[in-house]
């Protein structure tokens, strides 16, 4: 599904033009290191269906956590220089990298993105993710950059510093998302200048409370992300 269009980056991270649209407003889709880009298919389709141009950022599997953030900042600058101000769509820990990178975005959609440490750390899984698949949901895996899986584990109790974005930001959380439950999304963002807070699930008349993985695969949420990013055009 990816077109051949690429922007060369100084390091081995990849920034690729995805989908069919080539001349819409650029949207930087941050793929969480450790998750396959294919997991973002619905988001890309929804973004492009609104005439925006989705670009996928994937970190170099050899990168350390701080290098991922630096590469993402570089990718955003390159894309902006080539195509104009970017918008950002990120899920889970990919959103943490977007915040660490301080991407100068026109709008951001952060779905299931933790913004602070967990209220209660609890026992962590010894498997790939800090929590077992039964809690986090199934996401197609990719080779993880060295140190990033350890970083996800560390962020449960110690969170990296970042500056709250000044651009309009959509924050979506689910009560049943163990990675970014509402208490680590709504409360830390209370002072953000332009945030739109939405809780998915029963309290928003949805039929189910979504898991962390569900937040990425849910079609309705993909459309919501695209709609938010399109606003302001």
């Amino acid at each position: 599904m990816f077109a051949l269009t690429c922007i060369a980056l100084a390091n081995a991270a990849a920034l690729r033009d995805a989908g069919e649209v080539v001349d819409g407003s650029p949207v930087l889709v941050v793929v969480t290191p450790g998750i396959a880009a294919s997991a973002y298919g619905r988001w890309i389709a929804a973004i492009e269906s609104r005439g925006m141009d989705a670009w996928v950022f994937e970190a170099d599997p050899a990168s350390r956590s701080d290098e991922v953030a630096a590469a993402l900042a570089g990718a955003a600058r390159s894309l902006a220089a080539d195509r104009g101000t970017v918008r950002v769509a990120a899920h889970g820990w990919g959103g943490v990298y977007a915040l660490m990178a301080g991407v100068d975005a026109e709008r951001l959609a952060l779905v299931g993105v933790p913004l602070g440490p967990q209220a209660v750390a609890g026992p962590l899984s010894g498997q790939r993710w800090p929590w077992e698949t039964g809690l986090i949901g199934v996401m197609p895996p990719a080779k993880a950059p060295s140190g990033t899986l350890d970083a996800y584990r560390a962020w449960v109790s110690e969170f990296p510093l970042y500056d709250p974005p000044s651009a309009p930001t959509l924050l979506v959380a689910s009560n049943m998302d163990v990675v970014a439950p509402p208490e680590v999304v709504r409360l830390p963002s209370a002072g953000w200048p332009q945030r739109t807070w939405e809780r998915t699930g029963f309290l928003s008349l949805d039929s189910v409370d979504l898991s962390h993985a569900d937040l990425l695969s849910d079609p309705g949420l993909a459309r919501r992300v695209a709609k938010f990013l399109e606003e302001g055009e």
């Binding site: 163990v178 928003s204 008349l205």
Partner: protein, 348 residues
């Protein structure tokens, strides 16, 4: 239990006066004590006596003491008594066995949530301390019962002297960024509160209990870990109590968001908790859709208590289930996982 019941308001309004259900058999050994408040309301206290320190246990909105005492195996009162604690379960005015005043007249309306914290709790605390001869007691409140505990702790001067511990279970204090369902319920409360002296929630609950095999969306709001349909039906039949117009009006004032406040709007009870130094335990349920974790956590964060603890009852934090609102008090794993935490805190 306010929020899930409000969408059923038209159904509930079809009801008329209704007496409290008879006490279940497991309560036969409990003592009943009748208490008068300073402003003349009559309260019922249900005691599961033991020789140990006293514990006052308080229910939430549209509930009664059975929300902590549904059956012998789903009863914090029975459980604590077996552990040696002198457990006292309160029916706040207008709820459960506190529906009639000393002259036998119905207590149906004319009060706010503030009155629970500033009239009912002081009267109940004084009675328990007088009967037991103890110098202090521990307070355990579920949902609005924990909010009432905050009112008492933050605004009644004798609370610091009389409480050895404050335990708030599934008690929201932060209503900012209202969610659509909560916002709609609070809007309905704001409209209904000033007009209706009382909402007969039990009538709707009875009807819901009759369709126990066919859960409604309201069930997802209330529990996540009560497998037995008969237990769920019993919960609806036994626990749900009328809503008073005054408490609905006070909650309705939160429809635009903000922290839980007094009926006159002058006291921010969450902010007031910063001056409370009573040892505090706050428990939240991962799957609680009445009091989501992010609305409960500020209770713990803001409290000035030098000694405080926060427990998140969910699978990711090592519990058997993701606890819903009623799971915290009478769920399938409450006796095994929640009650010991409460005991350990009040014993610490």
């Amino acid at each position: 239990m306010l929020v899930p019941l409000l969408p059923l308001l038209p159904l509930l309004l079809a009801g008329c006066s209704r007496e409290a259900p008879a006490a279940p058999s497991h309560c036969a050994a409990a003592e009943r004590h009748d208490v008068l408040t300073a402003d003349g309301a009559a309260l019922a206290l249900h005691r599961h006596p033991a020789d140990g320190p006293p514990v006052l246990i308080v229910h939430g909105i549209s509930s009664n003491h059975h929300s902590w005492d549904l059956s012998a195996d789903r009863s914090l009162g029975v459980w604590l008594a077996a552990e040696g604690y002198d457990a006292w379960l309160l029916d706040l005015r207008g709820h459960g066995d506190s529906t009639r005043d000393a002259r036998g007249h119905a207590q149906r309306s004319g009060w706010s949530v503030d009155d629970y914290g500033q009239q009912d709790i002081p009267a109940a605390v004084a009675h328990v301390l007088q009967v037991t001869g103890a110098e202090q007691l521990a307070y355990v409140g579920h949902s609005m019962g924990g909010m009432v505990g905050a009112i008492y702790a933050a605004t009644v001067p004798t609370a610091a002297r009389d409480l050895s511990a404050l335990v708030a279970v599934g008690s929201p204090m932060d209503f900012t960024d209202p969610d659509p369902v909560i916002g709609a319920a609070l809007q309905l409360a704001a409209l209904s509160g000033p007009l209706l002296p009382v909402v007969q929630s039990p009538m709707g609950a009875d009807i819901h209990a009759a369709v126990k095999g066919n859960p409604l969306p309201v069930d997802s709001m209330l529990y996540n870990d009560i497998a037995d349909a008969d237990v769920r039906a019993t919960m609806y039949r036994r626990i749900v109590s009328p809503l008073s117009g005054g408490e609905m009006k006070q909650f309705g004032q939160l429809r635009e968001g903000g922290n839980f406040r007094s009926a006159d709007g002058q006291t921010d009870y969450l902010e007031a908790l910063s001056g409370v130094e009573i040892p505090l335990l706050v428990i939240a349920g991962r799957a609680d859709n009445i009091a989501p974790v992010d609305r409960v956590l500020p209770y713990y964060q803001v409290a000035g208590s030098p000694e405080k603890s926060f427990v998140l009852a969910g699978r990711a934090t090592g519990f058997s289930a993701d606890y819903g609102h009623m799971d915290l008090t009478i769920g399938d794993h409450a006796a095994e996982e929640i009650y010991p935490i409460i005991r350990d805190w009040i014993t610490r």
